[in-house]
């Protein structure tokens, strides 16, 4: 257990200002290895912005970010992803004109190091098929390996997206509202999936569905107006009157 005691991701004084408007201010976030960590808070609290800072889609105005003890404040998005931090998008992000297997293979093939080889045959990628199918099986898409992804229903696309993300064998996954826009049954599916993949992995997610948060998350950080309001387990956090007032309302 000693291994899971350390922090995989730490931010210090993380701040982002947009033209005089401070969206994130002085956030110190510490995410423990192999936990599911949720970021919640009112609309406009800065959750997505924090995400974008962590994945380098935005450059912080101030502050630092460390991943596995390494400073990644100035890294590029692709670099972060190669280091093992992968995000999923608020909307589903797949390659619609490719089959499900090809979708996953695109993620797998980077490791072969032949991605610039335009003179090599595609067949050299076939050796990745088994691994791709295995990943698809993990998210319940074994029947859809050869289906064009554009035609899949929404919930399946999200599942595929997670399979693709898993292909990168990320140490850490960032999920922005993974259940958004989903019906009840899909929410169930994704919740289970997240639990399944969280083994030996760290997950940071933004989620407004408190049901999902309460069943999945080990640790919760509440943001408000760009700053950390409080932190703790679901029970702790939901008992906090400030959180109730600013965020949960009657739901808590």
């Amino acid at each position: 257990m000693s291994k899971s005691d350390d922090f995989i991701l730490e931010t210090r004084g993380l701040t982002k200002e947009f033209k005089g408007f401070t969206a994130v201010s002085e956030v110190d976030l510490r995410i423990r290895r192999h936990t599911i960590h949720a970021l919640i808070g009112p609309n406009g609290a800065g959750k997505t912005t924090v995400f974008n800072l962590l994945t380098k889609f935005l450059i912080p105005t101030r502050g630092s970010i460390a991943f596995n003890g390494r400073d990644i404040t100035n890294a590029k998005p692709a670099e972060i992803s190669r280091m093992g931090v992968v995000r999923s998008f608020q909307i589903s992000a797949v390659f619609p004109h490719m089959t499900a297997r090809e979708n996953v293979r695109v993620a797998l093939q980077r490791k072969l190091g032949t991605s610039f080889h335009f003179w090599r045959s595609e067949k050299t990628l076939h050796k990745l098929n088994d691994r791709a199918d295995e990943l698809l099986g993990m998210v319940g898409l074994e029947r859809f390996c050869d289906a064009m992804v554009g035609d899949l229903p929404y919930g399946r696309k999200r599942a595929l997206e997670i399979a693709t993300t898993l292909a990168l064998e990320p140490e850490m996954m960032l999920l922005d509202e993974p259940t958004q826009g989903m019906g009840r049954e899909d929410v169930e599916l994704i919740t289970q999936l997240i639990r399944k993949v969280s083994k030996n992995r760290t997950i940071l997610m933004v989620e407004h569905n408190l049901g999902v948060v309460s069943t999945l998350c080990d640790q919760i950080t509440v943001l408000q107006r760009g700053a950390v309001l409080t932190e703790g387990t679901y029970a702790e956090v939901s008992a906090d009157p400030r959180v109730k007032e600013a965020y949960m309302g009657k739901a808590a």
Partner: protein, 250 residues
């Protein structure tokens, strides 16, 4: 399974004088070659709040878009306030007093928050004033000068809703308006909808969040595969639980 509801079936007290605001008959809609709606029949009365429930892809959004005239190819009949609009253009439909809040929010990135708010032309009297709206959604007031799409996801959702409340439209087609909103704001929206109902607004609500929709709605239409498979009145929720289980869960 009764698709067509006769007048005497209506139980809701809020329904004023049983004026038909919206009547849809045998509506079919197509995306290119794919057939999305397979003959929808429904009626909504003035002052009523109804929901469209169903799984992802069951055709709820398509129904709203069809009413708005946003689906290129559709057949059947859609009567709005007594007018046939199946062949009408979206802008003339809007001017019958219909407000539409799309699933994808549709905030314009090239307009500021305030411009977004002011954009839709007034289609009837009695819309809310900008002050009222800013009071309801303080986030928007704070960010009024910033670019529309720079808002957070939830703020955009607020803007999309506020935008049509300004226009005076009294038939509201609302698609997943609680999506991405913090629970406190969802509570507030619920209050707003109740208030609108008392003012005689007619609301068609597409919702995933059944907990939100249940206490507000007079009736629920359950959709599956492009059809309405069940109609459930507010007071039948418990007795017809099996229908929800059949069509809404796994």
């Amino acid at each position: 399974m009764s698709d067509v509801i006769e007048n005497h079936d209506i139980g809701g007290q809020h329904v004023s004088e049983h004026i038909e605001e919206l009547r849809i008959q045998d509506l079919h809609a197509f995306y290119g070659e794919s057939h999305a709606l397979h003959g929808i029949d429904m009626k909504v009365y003035q002052g009523e709040l109804v929901t469209l429930l169903g799984r992802n892809g069951s055709g709820r959004t398509t129904t709203l878009r069809s009413i708005m005239g946003l689906i290129g190819h559709r057949t059947g009949s859609i009567m709005l306030k007594g007018e046939e609009v199946i062949h009408a253009t979206p802008h003339s439909i809007a001017h019958l007093g219909v407000g539409y809040c799309p699933e994808e929010r549709g905030i314009f990135s090239r307009l500021s928050v305030e411009e977004n708010l002011m954009l839709p032309p007034r289609v009837a009297d009695g819309g809310m004033s900008v002050e009222e709206l800013y009071e309801m959604f303080p986030n928007l007031a704070e960010r009024r000068r910033s670019q529309g799409t720079r808002l957070s996801g939830g703020e955009q959702q607020m803007l999309a809703m506020a935008r049509i409340l300004r226009t005076g439209a009294n038939i509201l087609l609302l698609d997943e308006i609680t999506e991405g909103l913090a629970p406190v704001i969802v509570d507030k929206l619920g209050e707003v909808l109740l208030e609108l109902k008392t003012r005689g607004y007619t609301v068609v609500l597409v919702e995933q969040n059944f907990r939100f929709a249940a206490p507000l709605a007079d009736r629920h239409f359950v959709m599956d595969h492009g059809k309405i498979v069940a109609t459930i009145k507010a007071d039948e929720l418990e007795s017809k639980q099996h229908i929800f289980d059949q069509y809404l869960s796994v």
